[in-house]
Structures are given as C-alpha cells and as structure tokens.
C-alpha cells in the first residue's frame, strides 16, 4: 500500500480508476451504455477538446497557462470557412495555413511572455480577446463550409467492423496524443519543458535553452488549438466565431484531472487523454439519462477537479515528509 502511495504514477492511476468506475457505473445504470458505438461517439465528440488539451498540457508542464486556445480555435473555424468558401482555397492548403497561423500566434505569445517577463495569464488573456475579435472580423456569424474535400473526408476513416468507422477527427486526436507522449518523454524539447516547469532558474543555470523552449511550447499549444479548430469544422462543416467559448477552462480541467500539476514540471500527456475521456463520459451519461439537469455536467466536473487538486496536494505533502 505504501509502495503504491509513494509511486509517482499515483495521480495517473487515480484518473484511470475514476474513468473505469464511471464507465462501470454507467454500464450498470443504463442499457446499451457499454457499446462500441458509445465509446466511438465519445471520441468523436471530444476529439477537438482532446487535441487542444494536449497543447495545454505542454504549456502547463512548462509552468505556464494559455487562455487563448478557445478563441484561436474559433478563429480557425471561421478562417477555414472564409478562405475555402469565399476565396476558393483548396481545403488542405487552408488547413495547413490555419495550423501555421495558430503556431505563429502561439510563438508570438511565448515570445512576449519570455522577453518582457509578463505573466502568461495576462499575455494569453490579451491573446484570447485578440483572437476572438479577429474571428468576428472574419465573420460575425456562423458560416457553412461547402467543399467536396470535406464531404469526401467525412466518409473516410479506419473501419472498425460492424459498420463502425473511426473518422478522421478522432483519428487525428489519437495521433496527436501519441505524438505528444513521444515528444514529452522522448525528446530534448519535451524534457526541457519539464525542466522549465520544474525550476526555471535551475534550467537556465544548467545551460538549457529556456527562451526557445518557452516560445516553442506556446507554438505547440497554438498549433494544437488551430488543429482543434480544423477537427471541429470536420465534425460540424461550419465555422463559428462563438465556438469554443470557455474551452480553455475545459482543457485546463482535463489536464489537471489527468494529474498535471498547475505549477508545472509534473504530469503526463496520457493523463490528459484520460481526463478528456472522463469529462466526455460525464457528458455522455447526462445525454443518456435525459432526466438529469445539464448543470450536473459542470457540478460533476468541478467536484472531480477539486478532488484531484486535493489528491495532488496530499501527494506533495507525502513526498516532502
């Protein structure tokens, strides 16, 4: 028991346990809950949040925060609608450009944060207003995306048998999670992110590239936010400047529930993956039930968040003593 408690994987195990418990409870309570289709829909619905949350995890691991992700995602959706529908760009080019803009926007925020030593909270808050405003400039209301490429992409995917198809959106999500895990644990950039979040002064004294890492980490996050926008247009075939309002908070919640510590330096991309699934499962349960007030989604998320923060605090105390 002591051994388990001392393990640094404890938060991750707790997250996994909560996910399994939720599924077991829902499976016992509702007929047909434990089916491949439900799970598949869960991935489909949460794919954009999942991708955004991976980027957010990197930022939080580095000791920062990025409030602009929801707005960047919204901008991406109307940008795509505009350049594909209005200007006639080819869809793949438009998507690449959108992700490029997201990366550039993120890197710029990282640069401001690093070189002017301004709290990330403030810089990305400004970025949030800026990106949201730009989204409304591009289009003040929701626009449908009509594109043969989109129609075609909607029918493609990984067949799972029984007529089930893992479409491009959720597929991208899984790829991003896998890539995020590899980058975080297997590359110098990833380890430098952990170092930066652990202790910036030490990282600098060890000769690590603190500035480049910080700029890069916000670039990754901006890119993920834009990719989340791409995925959301794939699912909804439209761009909307109001989409993703409050998404940044869901992404932060998913990361924290997944065991990432808000002060940085500790956490896992895989944990965030689990965190997103937990939030999605709670949503699915509410959809299934129908009699429950949707407000319970927020309340349950809040309760879980508090629980996990307290758990982290307890573990931190354990490792000190």
């Amino acid at each position: 028991m002591n051994r388990i408690f001392a393990s640094r994987l404890l938060p991750l195990m707790a997250t996994g346990l909560v996910l399994v418990a939720l599924f077991a409870a829902a499976g016992a309570g509702y007929e047909n809950f434990l089916s491949a289709r439900v799970v598949l829909n869960l991935f489909k619905d949460r794919a954009f949040l999942g991708v955004v949350a991976v980027g957010m995890t990197f930022v939080i691991l580095s000791g920062g925060i990025d409030l602009s992700v929801g707005a960047v995602m919204a901008f991406t959706t109307v940008f795509l609608a505009k350049v594909i529908g209005g200007l006639g760009w080819s869809a793949p080019v438009a998507m690449l450009a959108a992700v490029g803009i997201g990366v550039g926007f993120g890197m710029f925020q990282g640069w401001v944060i690093h070189f002017f030593r301004i709290p990330a909270f403030l810089v990305t808050l400004a970025g949030m207003f800026l990106a949201r405003g730009m989204a409304f400039v591009v289009s003040p209301r929701s626009v449908e995306i009509r594109s043969a490429f989109y129609d075609d992409l909607g029918e493609r995917g990984l067949p799972l048998g029984e007529g089930l198809l893992l479409t491009v959106g959720p597929l991208m999500y899984l790829v991003v999670v896998a890539a995020g895990m590899v980058v975080a644990h297997g590359t110098r950039f990833g380890r430098n992110v952990y170092a930066l979040g652990g202790n910036e002064a030490s990282a600098a004294l060890m000769g690590l590239p603190v500035g480049a890492t910080r700029v890069g980490v916000y670039g990754v996050c901006g890119g993920c936010a834009a990719l989340g926008g791409v995925i959301s247009t794939l699912a909804l075939s439209s761009g909307d400047p109001t989409r993703g309002t409050g998404l940044e908070l869901d992404a932060i919640a998913a990361a924290v529930i997944g065991g990432t510590v808000l002060t940085g330096g500790r956490g896992w991309v895989f944990g965030t993956f689990l965190g997103v699934l937990i939030l999605g499962t709670i949503k699915t349960i509410l959809d299934f039930d129908g009699s429950l007030d949707p407000a319970w989604l927020r309340i349950a998320s809040g309760g879980l968040l508090l629980g996990f923060i307290l758990l982290q605090k307890l573990i931190a105390r354990q490792s000190v003593s």
Binding site: T187, G198, N199, M206, S319
Partner: protein, 495 residues
C-alpha cells in the same frame, strides 16, 4: 604544477557599486583552493563571473591557457567550468539520470536514448562511489545525494574546474566527510576545485591553498599549511592582530540578570548556547559570516523555533514560540535586513514608528492619532532623525535615519531586551556614532541589548560581555576585561 584557470583583473560593477575591483585569481590543476571572505567581499560575484552568470566589466579569464568570455552558464560549461551551488540548482521533478545528462542526452535521431542516459549517469556516480536508483526522482533524495548528482553532472561533461559554493552548509558531519573524500579523489585525478565555505575547520581539512577577498579586492593567496588561522581571520576582517590590544569592553554596570539562555539550540542551524544577559548591559554576539549570529537572533525572537534548551527570566521559562510571544516577554528585534524585514518604504516615518506598538495591541485597539504624533515627535527629536516631518515616507530617508526610525519603533515598545542585528551596516560614520551613543543611553536606562555586529571593534566598544560563535556553536563567553579585538579573533580562529 600547471595552471588551470587564471582570472586577471576582474572588475564587476552593479550600477554605481563596484563589487569586484580588479581581482586576480589563479587555480592550479590538482588542487583544492578555498575562496574566503566576509560579507561583501565579492566571493559570490567572482564565482558568478567565472560561471557566466554575470558578465565582467573588465579583466580576462583563461582556462588552460585559452581565453574565454563566458557570457552564459552554457559557455562556461563548454569551457570546462562547472558549479555546484549552495542551494542545489537541479530539477527535483526529473530523475537523477536526467539531471546528470540534461542538455547532453545521447540521441538516436530526434529521440533520447534513455537506456544510455541511465548508463552514463550510473558511470558518473560510480566515480564518486555512489550507487543509487538513477531512475528515481531527484527530489526524493536527501541534499547530500543531490549534491553528488550535481558533481556527477560536472564529471560527465568532463569539467576541469569544479566550483563548490558552500556545499556543506546543509550537510551533517558524516555527509561532509564523504563529500571531502570525493573532493580529494577528484583533486588527485587532476581537477581544480574552488571551495567556498564559512567553516574554518573544513577549509583547513581539505584545502591546499587559500585566497582571501575583502571589499571586492584580493587580499592574497597563501598555502593553507603556511597560514595560521589567526592570520587568516585577520586577513578576512582586515584587522591587524597586534593592533588595538586590550580595550577591555564596557565595564559591567552590575545589573541583575535579566535573561538566562540555557542550552538553547536549533538542530542543524545553531547552538547549543548558554549565556546570561544582564539588565543595563549590552551582550555582544561575535563571529565570522556564517557563524550563526543572525540565526541566534531569529531563534531568540521566535522566528525560527528552537528545538532544545530554554530561556529563563526571573526563575521562570519564557515562551519564545513566536515573535508575538517573544514581544509579550519583553523582547524586540531590529533585523539585519532593514529593507526586507524592517521598514515599509511607502508608509510615513510616524506610521513606521508606531507599527510594532499597534501590532502588539491588535487591530481593534488603534493607537490614537494624537498619541502617535506625540510618539513620533518625541523620537524624531530624541534620536535626531533627519526628516522633513513625521509624515514623510520613510523610503526617502537615508539609511542611517531609517535605522534610527526602526530603533524608535522598538524603543516605543519599551522592551527589556533589544536585539540589534547589524544596526550600523550600510550607514555613514556619523550615523554609526549616533546609534552607538543611543545604545549607551538605552543601557543606562536599564535596557538590555543583544548587540550583533560583524565589526569587532563595535562589539568591543559597546559590550560588557561577548558570546563568540564559531561554526554555529558557542566557542566562548568573554567578560569585561577579557574583551578585546585580539581575544575575540583568537577565539574565532581557535580549532
């Protein structure tokens, strides 16, 4: 022996303040070289220049005959200079192995070879005779292991110069011995080691040569074996041992015992201490930088809890569990760092003076404005505080006048024991004299003073009794006629 590192005429300014005034320092291959000096001597500035944290304003640094200009820690490391800081500057949230190889991990394409990282980390630690689970998080290990990890990091990057900045300050005796064994081993392998420590015993235990800095200038470099301790101490504080003989301190006023400190200690920090404080007398705390002077004051005032011993007043144990309790027992503490712990710069002179009194009364029982103004006026006149008026923000006053306001704050409390930690640091000569005169008046009024100062002459001039600290322990208590610059220095230097 070949010269490994040669810093010539290093100058470093911070604004108008010159921290290093052309310091020259030479390190040989295969030696342990102690760098010594009191507060403000420039030790840490010199180290930060060598390691690329600060850029020098003048002078040259050569490593093995090659000129370097280390503008960043990375460049210094590339030139072969590695540093282990006092507060270990590693990453507790990463594994031991990663800490050793961070930034230099062996790669396969874009990916880190984690197995190879662990292997090289184990190899580096093995050279230090340490075997630990290199995959475990660094933060789960004691400071001693963390320091070894930092040294292993230096070894892995084939550092030729290793700087150890107060590495033993948080180690116990056994851990320090292990560290010394490692240092000797590395020296014998040809590494040049710069060792900074405040513990004279440790300096003499491992060092081959000693360089002393004072006020940003080089005093000299000596073979450790040929430099008596007393001489080292006199170089450090800049006083000739022969000069200023038997001053004899202040003759005791024959007051009654106000407080008796009995075996008071804080494990790992300072003590045990045993001495008496007489009413109407100043008791001095003397010792070198790092000898535990301020730590003693903080323990007495309840800022850091004592782990053993007690303080007795009138036959009863005094509760010193918190600053509040200490104040209730009649203690007052005028801290060494008046900028951080003392004054509140944006508040007025009057507000700063009544602060402690207000705090002791609680929020609800406000000191009436008229009483505040009377107090402020009284102290401004009595202490000759030069301010435009009682409502002037204290931050605009000179250092000496700020110090007098702080004194006024605690005098307003009418304490039985006033602890003065470095009351004259950073103020001009005239203000110093005034503060000393003030101490004399307070003594004659029956107040006890615990006088802490790095300036030994000040201690000799003001105190009737001096507790000499050495390596955070009480070395001796000197009384009246026995107090002189010479006796204090001899006690500090004794082994």
């Amino acid at each position: 022996m070949s010269e490994l590192l040669h810093a010539e005429g290093i100058v470093k300014r911070f604004g108008s303040f010159t921290a290093l005034k052309g310091v020259t320092f030479r390190l040989r291959a295969g030696e342990i070289h102690a760098l010594m000096g009191e507060n403000g001597a420039g030790k840490s500035t010199l180290i930060k220049v060598l390691t690329g944290v600060h850029e020098a304003d003048g002078g040259t640094v050569t490593v093995a005959g090659r000129g370097i200009r280390a503008a960043s820690p990375r460049e210094a490391e590339a030139a072969g200079i590695s540093t282990v800081y006092q507060e270990v500057n590693l990453l507790p949230n990463l594994s031991v192995a990663e800490n050793i190889l961070m930034g230099r991990q062996p790669m396969r394409g874009p990916f880190i070879r984690h197995g190879e990282v662990r292997r090289r980390a184990r190899a580096a630690l093995a050279r230090l005779g340490l075997e630990v689970d290199v995959g475990a998080l660094l933060g789960t290990f004691p400071v001693a292991v963390q320091q070894m990890t930092a040294i292993a990091r230096a070894l892995d990057q084939e550092a030729r110069v290793l700087i150890l900045d107060e590495p033993t300050s948080s180690l116990d005796a056994r851990e320090s011995e292990e560290l010394f064994a490692v240092m000797r081993r590395l020296r014998d392998e040809g590494m040049g080691i710069v060792f900074v420590s405040h513990f004279l015993d440790q300096i003499y235990a491992v060092s081959d040569r000693i360089t002393v800095l004072r006020d940003g200038s080089l005093v000299g470099t000596w073979e450790a074996a040929g430099l008596p301790r007393l001489e080292l101490v006199s170089h450090m504080i800049g006083k000739e041992v022969t000069a200023g003989g038997g001053d004899g301190g202040v003759v005791s006023g024959g007051g009654a015992e106000a407080f008796r400190v009995e075996g008071l200690e804080r494990k790992g920090t300072v003590g045990p201490l045993t001495f008496s404080v007489m009413a109407g007398e100043a008791t001095g705390l003397a010792g070198l930088l790092g000898s535990g002077r301020t730590e003693t004051a903080r323990m007495l005032f309840g800022i850091d809890a004592a782990t053993g011993g007690r303080v007795v007043a009138g036959g009863e144990t005094v509760d010193l569990g918190s600053p509040r309790a200490a104040m209730a027992a009649g203690l007052a503490f005028c801290s060494e760092d008046r900028k951080v712990e003392g004054i509140i710069p944006s508040l007025s002179v009057r507000e700063n003076i009544v602060l402690a009194m207000q705090a002791s009364r609680g929020v609800l029982r406000r000191v009436p404005r008229a009483e505040q103004e009377a107090l402020a006026a009284k102290f401004i006149a009595a202490l000759n505080i030069r301010t435009r008026g009682p409502e002037t923000p204290i931050g605009t006053l000179s250092g000496g006048n700020q110090q007098k306001c702080l004194l006024a704050r605690w005098m307003a409390m009418q304490p039985r024991l006033l602890i003065l930690d470095e009351p004259t640091r950073g103020i001009d000569v005239g203000a110093k004299a005034e503060i000393e005169a003030l101490c004399g008046e307070l003594r004659r009024a029956g107040m006890s003073i615990l006088f802490i100062s790095a300036e030994l002459e000040e201690v000799v001039r003001n105190c009737s009794r001096v507790v000499v600290l050495r390596d955070r322990r009480q070395a001796a208590v000197l009384d009246g006629p026995a107090i002189s610059l010479r006796t204090i220095m001899e006690t500090v230097a004794a082994s």
